[in-house]
Symmetry: C2
Subunit: 422 residues, 2 copies
């Protein structure tokens, strides 16, 4: 089945907004084995839209249209869809009632121009939008099915995941209930993950589970896109596969689905009634910047210290400045221990980096020393990463967070990662 | 003139890579008054590419094609361009020689498949790529001119700016030398900037300077896109206009062109032989994270402290913990002064935030107290921002950096900004 994506709107066409809606839709189509054949972008312009609909109808079996469903005069999708389908626009009474009650619940009167959002091409299939005033719909232009989604990203995402993908799977004769299961890992490269997970897809019948990866250094996302008759069947089918992925990727899995290593660390701290202090060199406080804005972090995150110079670090922590010590695992645990004592936090993490001298090249590396202190004592980890300064910096932040996660969860802190050189 | 953008490549089509190249090209076209009429995305697939070329040739006067110029078998742009234009591919000897010397300078032998990158459609206009092995070219398909650019963003950007835009301007009968002048400001909203700069475009003849804005809160970018016969003419034309923009936007201009408030602050510190220490609450160390990774920052950035709790802040700075003091301008200057003393830095900036209680809504605000200490003494600034927690956090970071910039440059620190509520 040939599927196209058609994005409308002047903001997208003129580049003022980067088209992340397109990538979201395309990624989902690929994940569920549907694929994507063509992408078109046009502005809020009647002539272009009509031509785009007609040309897409000649090329594709199905088209997902994004944008142009708003209440203003430059939102033309319903109108041009009706024109392309050769039918009039008719009022969809239930949606008008839904919008009116939506406004009524907020003690407001619905503006008159919102009525336009309930005008759909005659005979169109209604597609619900549970979180906005722009409903979706589907209509045929020639032999091609067009699915209309709003431009607001969170509305579009929910409709694509819950309603459009299942409809497309049905059209392609595939099972329609879907689920996307995600694992976030650190320390395993994409090619090794691919090797480690060989044969995983074959655990489900008829290619109903597709394995995919998305690498965003230093993390790797491993995805299982599952299709089934319903969620219960998917549950049954996925459970042993998920367990097997967890077994094979092991301690390298940082978090699953919407969780992040930051949220996992905060959750573990909360569960243990703990609090946290951080000391960072060279990461510019990047670990603190990831943790501190999270919901509930204020109660757990005590203090962060950033310094490039070890003398500053020692001074701020009240450590003796006698030895001209370099970055070492011993200094990292010393810093973490002092940080616990001074801040009163139950856990402290120190991430120290000694970066290679010279110009910044792909071969530039850094030695990372991590120290963690808590009521049980202290632990350290040393690693050498390559790939230029920014790469080392990103790797060091992730390694620091990961060591803390491992310490909190009782996992080994010193497990070799793929990015490491010894 | 109708201009289209055609992006090729499976990574883009399948959504694995967000198409920022498209937005870059479209933004440039709009900035120089050329506009963009249509966008197409296809994969590394001969049939789709050929159809996309033919359909674009029917719709447009000019097409910018991006991607598909690499050395591997899935890079098909030259080949399909030749097919669409109805001409054979021929070797472009000078480019082959350039590539060979490029490899020779690096003591490497050019791989055989790179030769493919010197094969251009017969009669094509060669377009130089000064920083890569994929040269560009232009060729006619029917009455439409197609311009080919590589997918590597920095190569594409340079070619679009220096070579494609001038050619399109020439084709549109407009002057061909171009320059984009950019001003980054903080504290003026887009609509007020638009008012303040009324009549600026009219200072240049024949619409040769176009004014544009790009808002990325909390900064606003003001752009002057200039066209002229040559750079000397543009120099002469722009000088009084730039001066007028500087006069009207005044102290709110943070930086120009490639500079940022961070780089301006570091440059001013360097010029004064100064060093810096920071204390932040609630921004999660976000100011430190912006400053610390910059080139040369290690020599100037002494220490950063992050704490949500004022008790932690006082403890870390050795301030008396007697009064249960709230966030105040006095506490901010006290913190900055203590920070100078303890870190030995010549300048210290403290950014303290008291955030409204309750759920995070658009109306949620925060009171921001900024203290700066240096050899001249100390200064403070208080402001109230609204718009939800993240908005307040971003605004506070920018306001802190801006106050430091103003102090370092001898400008008034207490100038009211548009985002402020009193």
């Amino acid at each position: 089945m040939r599927i196209e994506i058609l994005c409308t709107g002047d903001e997208i066409l003129t580049g003022k907004t980067v088209n992340t809606n397109y990538s979201y839709i395309a990624t989902r189509l690929v994940e569920f084995g549907l694929g994507v054949h063509w992408g078109t972008t046009v502005g809020d312009d009647r002539e272009s839209l009509l031509l785009a609909f007609r040309q897409a109808a000649e090329r594709a079996d199905a088209v997902i249209v994004n944008g142009g469903l708003g209440p203003t005069v430059d939102d033309l999708s319903q109108e041009v869809a009706a024109q392309a389908a050769g039918v009039p626009l008719v009022l969809h009474e239930p949606w008008l009632a839904r919008m009116e009650s939506f406004y009524a619940r907020r003690n407001r009167v619905m503006p008159a121009n919102n009525r336009k959002q309930a005008m759909l091409p005659e005979g169109a299939e209604f597609i619900d939008n549970p979180i906005g005033t722009a409903c979706g719909f589907a209509v045929d232009v020639g032999k091609t099915r067009f699915y209309f989604t709003p431009g607001v990203p969170r509305e579009m995402r929910r409709m694509v995941d819950e309603q459009i993908i299942p409809r497309l799977l049905a059209r392609a004769g595939m099972r329609q209930a879907t689920r996307l299961k995600r694992f976030h890992s650190f320390g395993i490269g994409e090619s090794r993950a691919d090797e480690l997970l060989a044969g995983i897809e074959a655990m489900a019948p008829d290619g109903r589970v597709k394995l995919g990866f998305q690498s965003h250094y230093p993390q790797l996302e491993t995805k299982l896109a599952a299709r089934g008759a319903d969620q219960t069947e998917i549950d049954r089918m996925l459970a042993p596969i998920e367990a097997e992925v967890r077994r094979r990727l092991g301690n390298f899995i940082l978090a699953e689905d919407g969780a992040t290593p930051e949220s996992v660390v905060l959750e573990a701290l909360r569960a243990q009634g703990g609090t946290l202090a951080l000391a960072e060199t060279l990461t510019g406080g990047g670990i603190a910047a990831r943790l501190a804005p999270l919901p509930g972090a204020e109660a757990l995150f005590r203090r962060g210290l950033v310094a490039r110079d070890l003398g500053q670090l020692r001074n701020a922590l009240g450590l003796p400045e006698t030895d001209g010590a370099a970055v070492s695992p011993a200094l990292a645990t010393e810093a973490a221990t002092a940080l616990c004592a001074r801040s009163g936090a139950s856990h402290a993490l120190a991430v120290l980096i000694a970066l290679d001298d010279g110009p910044d090249r792909m071969e530039t590396g850094g030695t990372i020393c991590i120290g963690i202190a808590d009521a049980r004592g202290s632990v350290s980890r040393e690693a050498r990463l390559l790939g230029g300064r920014e790469w080392v910096r990103l790797g060091a932040m992730e390694l620091g967070l990961d060591c803390l996660r491992r310490r909190l969860l009782g996992l080994p802190v010193d497990e070799r990662i793929d990015f490491e050189r010894r």
